[in-house]
Subunit: 448 residues, 2 copies
């Protein structure tokens, strides 16, 4: 176990979980508050993580046949349902541009809270014939929803996300596609890239997305036993297509209404990853999305040590491991080791003069804290398999926590009790809408 | 040569080049106007192209040691130099949010026209010691500059771009880094990925970026002989660091001011690519960034043809070629061939029953229009080399045009003449600021 002597830099999770979360974002140099309240600056280390997450989600989305597009940031007032007399009439979550080009605009424009309405308008134009179907579109973009109680990554006024919108000729095709996104994109990504086990299921009518016939969700358990919704997929039936007039001419020349889906995930998943895996020593980044998978520390300012450490980084990269050299020998070793631990780098590899004499390196695993000696000449080759075992260990321990803190319950009262430390599982036929309303009043939500 | 009989779908370039540009964007399904004037919808085909371009630029930026960050869309009014009494006092290019959270904001916020000021504030905070230098940051994001005369990709109210900002301990380091970006990122990308030869050089004081000591530019010649600025890199001396108080403590404990650079490129390069390579038949997408490098057309609705075409797509993909199957046999062959030609797909591969009997396919090169018969069993393996030769041919013909339409001139009058059909090259010591002012009055700009 890693047992350096040092003052704790983070508030312990058990003492104050939200405070621990804020501490780790700051100390691990993940994010800062932006100058406008509720906005966020994503620092290089967290943005590198997001880029890896985005690549994993994007490749899964493309594998389902969807293509990316880019729609405008600005949406005309007329696209929004409520025709506001004055801009104060807009929904409080909206940011409204009233002045541009050096003067007041004739019609205010809204900064997109989602691109849903523009997707609707464009798909109505682009879908004409059955030959255009299915139309499967996705967008990576920033969106804005004014936040009065912001929390970095979890609830910010501006956030980064992807939103997918698809149109299909039949209900069956739309339904099957929404399920593919739910399981083969989101659940697969969360489990196989982020090492986060998820509960999948349907939202209750109360929690369902407005306009959706079915909302499928991936819910994860955080380190404090609370739930976080990681991604949702909606079957919209023909509601959305009717509202935007998305229709097609079928093989027989008949005009038909499309069946549509929509689905999304966001930088909130970065917050979820932090809260699902982090511990009192800092982040634990799952290996498959880690910006740095192995930090190689040259312990002493000695030419041979520095050379061997640099060579090891090159060797690790040759085996496909994202490695980083730490040659900051003017700073103490303990301080540097703590920094990599805080940043949750999966492998910390220490190269010191004594190790070299013995032809070995010291390897610390961030998941378990375990430290072992490994032969210098074979370590790089073994590292990819070690990272895979660490992924498996991370999801196994998350699964164990989920199982331990989930209780089968029979009444709304028992469900309330279970929610104090984790999840309660209850049949919807037993709980029902009244039970849900009762739990909601007491601060407990029904997730799926 | 491709000589299908058909009505021209595009305005010929020689007749009206800007109109040709609009036509090709529409017919090749590249982009639409957004619902708010000046904004743009980037359709899947163009967005796939942009993703490939972005990947090429991004990997070159990262190879220089820079890391990506994300800064907020919204900037407080106070960050902007001019303290505007009322929002009409803002620069006309700015879009201003005055209402959010359901009420009027105490201080209006501006939608970023660039993130320069936020980079300045954050770098002042993040740079403390010489150990933090060089700090090399880049951002991919949308920015907004209100446009009264928008043109898709070239001048839009919202556009996508990257902006890099770096801080260095010495002038020499900043200068060398700006040059690396200029040559190893931008020039290399433009020539080796986009097949566009560029003239590189320094902007005149009149054309230089405000606050820059030196502005380096990559200028390309479009199909109509006009110049388009593709990317710029600025040495900012200590001006920017002084304005934002970006300083560091050196090895001796002295506080010093940083030397900074900034540099950017945008979706305007998509417009440049279209205008540099397109012809009267449509786009010609350079192979290395083409979303589809080979379209394999099953000519007839015949099971063997369809199977061979599908197998060929798989085989091409195995050799790293981005291939797409066109099995829309209910549509005429000529119409489909025209579509791929319009979209500028580098290779059009026709698989028909007669070809199959002879064990061959017909291959049409989009760069030259040349059509050849190729053996079915070796074509996929040869395709990557063929695409490389096409890249070389594209840049060679662009170089030839650039040479042919660039004239050495000795006077401002001759420079004006040369600019009517291409570029004029004149020594700055001969032209001078007065000559530049004279040319500007007559609608000619000095590029580098
Ligand atoms: Zn006003
Ligand atoms: Zn008002």
């Amino acid at each position: 176990m890693a047992t350096q002597n040092r003052a704790p830099v983070l508030t312990p999770q058990a003492e104050d979980f939200p405070r621990w979360y804020q501490d780790v974002l700051e100390k691990a140099e993940m994010a800062d508050n932006g100058p406008v309240r509720g906005t966020m600056v994503i620092r290089p280390y967290a943005y590198g993580l997001w880029e890896n997450m985005q690549r994993e989600v994007d490749s899964r989305i493309k594998a389902t046949g969807a293509e990316n597009v880019y729609l405008p940031l600005f949406i005309p007032q007329s696209y929004l349902e409520r025709e506001a007399e004055h801009v104060e009439g807009f929904s409080p979550e909206l940011a409204v541009v009233t002045h541009a080009g050096g003067k007041e605009l004739g019609e205010p424009v809204v900064v997109r809270p989602t691109s849903e309405t523009v997707f609707g308008e464009m798909m109505a134009k682009w879908v004409q014939s059955h030959r255009d179907l299915p139309m499967r579109l996705n967008q990576w973009a920033n969106v804005v929803r004014w936040e009065l109680r912001p929390r970095l990554f979890l609830r910010t006024t501006e956030f980064l996300w992807q939103e997918g919108h698809t149109a299909h000729a039949t209900e069956a095709d739309a339904s099957a596609y929404a399920r593919t996104i739910h399981l083969d994109v989101y659940r697969d990504f969360l489990q196989n890239a982020l090492a986060i086990p998820v509960l999948t299921g349907l939202k209750t009518p109360r929690e369902r997305f407005a306009g959706a016939v079915t909302t499928m969700t991936c819910e994860a358990m955080m380190g404090d036993g609370k739930a976080l919704q990681m991604a949702t997929s909606h079957e919209l039936g023909q509601n959305f297509a009717r509202a935007f007039d998305i229709g097609f001419t079928d093989e027989t020349g008949q005009v038909q209404t499309c069946w549509t889906t929509s689905w999304g995930s966001s930088t909130r998943m970065v917050g979820g990853l932090i809260m699902a895996h982090g511990d009192d020593q800092g982040l634990r980044i799952p290996p498959r999305v880690a910006p740095i998978q192995a930090a190689v520390i040259a312990v002493k300012d000695d030419p041979r040590t520095l050379q061997v450490a640099a060579d090891l980084v090159a060797e690790l990269e040759r085996f496909g491991v994202r490695a980083r050299l730490d040659d900051r020998t003017s700073q103490g070793f303990g301080r540097r080791a703590t920094e990599w631990e805080l940043k949750g780098v999966p492998l910390r590899v220490e190269v010191g003069p004594r190790d070299l004499e013995a032809g070995r390196v010291t390897v610390a695993r961030r998941d378990s804290g375990e430290k072992t000696q490994e032969p210098l000449d074979t370590f790089a080759e073994e590292a990819p398999a070690l990272l895979s075992r660490m992924h498996a260990a991370l999801i196994d321990s998350s699964r164990a926590r989920l199982a331990e803190r989930t209780h089968d319950v029979a009444t709304s009262e028992e469900a309330f009790e279970a929610a104090q430390t984790g999840f309660g599982r209850i049949a919807w036929s037993t709980l029902g809408e009244d039970g849900e309303a009762d739990l909601n009043r007491r601060g407990v939500t029904v997730r799926c």
